[in-house]
Symmetry: C2
Subunit: 336 residues, 2 copies
């Protein structure tokens, strides 16, 4: 075992980490060849598993540089479980993959603590994971993080394009800032085109750059899933890379278009500042950032009042941002 | 979209890749927010989902350096589905995560083609994936690859420690060389302690180093799963990082030990050469490499002949490598 350790892989540090994760996640079965999840099928007639994988992108580079690795695990879980929710499914379990150059047990513990927190916010269970120590693969203390989530829905409960109608109302749920997209552009603007430091504070922001940029992606499961289960939501778009245009287009049938009016919700100050500093066109903005909406729900008009009320009660900030009109899958974002 | 592309992220190249993966995998539903897998539950009374995640480790660095990226996807699938098989479960579906510094569509296509091949060998379905382009995170053309597999078994079919008895026979299934473990040590020995090139050929080997090192990890699902389903296998250890000692220990109950006799199977020539070149102790060897056995099955004596015959018919090379004896979870590897 000495030879392997000398070559840069410390298996014992890995085992120690597994024990700490077991304790953090309160799942003592972690460490088996595969994670187990017994399926309770009482409520399902035609169960469909819905699964997604995602990462955090170069937001990780901000976390690494700032030495603040506690929240990227929340981002990781959010990116995956919000996708599952967008299909109308309930997240069941989660696994994470952490690739590092050299295993720093303290750093890894912080990262996984964020994952555990995210999984709990999503009402899911962490049933496995992998920490891969790869000398020479990652340099400069870099690491990458991938997440995998599995959820379940009855076939009849999955959200379908055919459930959408002209006149359906689009409700936008406030994002918590940039979430986990557009960070290569953010870094380019702030640190290459300009010379900002992570400790700087931009005008209109209530915290320094590192804390602003590292706001964790919001997890919408607990507020939205009950409404899906009650049949009040016609469709959901999780706004990630590609912004409103590309993510909303994915939920539209061939005969409908989505019309947003940007006057109906505020764009987060960090995005306004980035637009100025990077001299970005609105076209660039809308294809890269969430513009302040982390999730868009399509709701039949008769359910709007009830849905809004329930979401606000659950702690969401909700905006009525547009509606579905006759069209050909266009996503129109009007600025007046 | 121009600004994001200039910052190093080409969303359109990503979309093009998704279309190519759809075509390779023949799964036209790829690209939705979450991958779907309808569960056919006819055969299950108490279904348990079994899930695992893994990577390929620094074997990737060999593939990158050699420009041979077609088989690491098979390694990725193998690492995950063999773990699921080791629990007695049938792999259902798979997702992959590919992190790159700069998306090279041709390279990504080769990588994913390997994933598609592995998934097919495992009798599973590729239902989703993520390709993350992360400028500044990965340098020198490096990429990382993580996989995620979900399988299913009836609660009563899961392999349990209590099914093992003193006298059970250990059958070893030949590995296809190094599989995906120990590569940081391999690289240290060959390229740091010594000055070999990937085009060199070591004594006793039938191919050059790059092809020897990149032999894909064997996928044991199609040969072993039918025997599990017929109840002929008491337990399975998938031999990965930590080698026979640590992976076999994981399947042992408190009152049994495993005894291997290394004279009963041949160690692959690449490992003999690495041992010489790296002056490795047998202790280092057994904790780092699979020693030639990719999977170890524990079989009750009355089933051994039938299991062996079936495995050979399925194309496996099978060795009777040891047995379970009274003990305290020790894994004894005798060299006489």
């Amino acid at each position: 075992m000495d030879a392997y350790k000398k070559a840069g892989v410390d298996i014992n540090a890995g085992y120690k980490l597994v024990n700490e994760i077991k304790s953090l996640s309160k799942n003592t079965e972690l460490g088996a060849f595969g994670g187990m999840f017994p399926l309770a099928l009482g409520d399902y007639r035609e169960p469909v598993l819905v699964s997604g994988t995602d990462g955090v992108g170069t937001k990780l580079l901000i976390a690494i540089q700032a030495g603040l690795n506690e929240t990227v695990g929340i981002d990781l879980v959010a990116m995956c479980v919000n996708d599952i929710l967008a299909q109308g499914a309930k997240p069941l379990f989660f696994l994470d993959y952490l690739g590092v150059g050299h295993l720093d047990p303290d750093q890894a513990k912080h990262i996984v603590a964020g994952v555990v927190k995210g999984v709990s916010e999503a009402g899911a269970k962490l049933i496995g994971g992998e920490t891969a120590e790869m000398p020479d693969m990652y340099t400069n203390g870099h690491y990458d993080l991938a997440g995998f989530a599995v959820g379940i829905a009855d076939q009849s409960q999955l959200l379908k394009k055919t459930d959408l109608s002209e006149g359906d109302v689009l409700l936008g749920l406030a994002s918590n800032g940039l979430h986990s997209n557009g960070f290569s552009l953010v870094r380019d603007i702030l640190f290459k085109q300009h010379d900002y430091k992570l400790t700087d504070q931009l005008p209109g922001l209530d915290r320094d750059l590192k804390h602003e940029l590292l706001r964790p992606t919001r997890i919408y499961v607990k507020s939205v899933l009950p409404l899906v289960e009650q049949g009040f939501i016609a469709s959901i778009a999780h706004i990630t890379g590609g912004g409103l245009p590309e993510n909303v287009a994915r939920i539209l049938p061939e005969n409908l278009a989505a019309e947003f009016n940007t006057n109906t919700w505020p764009m987060p100050a960090i995005m306004t500042e980035l637009q100025k500093l990077g001299q970005l066109s609105f076209d660039d903005m809308k294809h890269t950032f969430n513009l302040g909406l982390g999730m868009v729900l399509a709701v039949h008009p008769e359910n709007v009042a009830q849905v809004k009320e329930a979401l606000v009660k659950s702690g969401e900030t909700v905006y009525q941002v547009g509606r579905l009109v006759s069209g050909f899958k266009e996503v129109l974002i009007r600025k007046d």
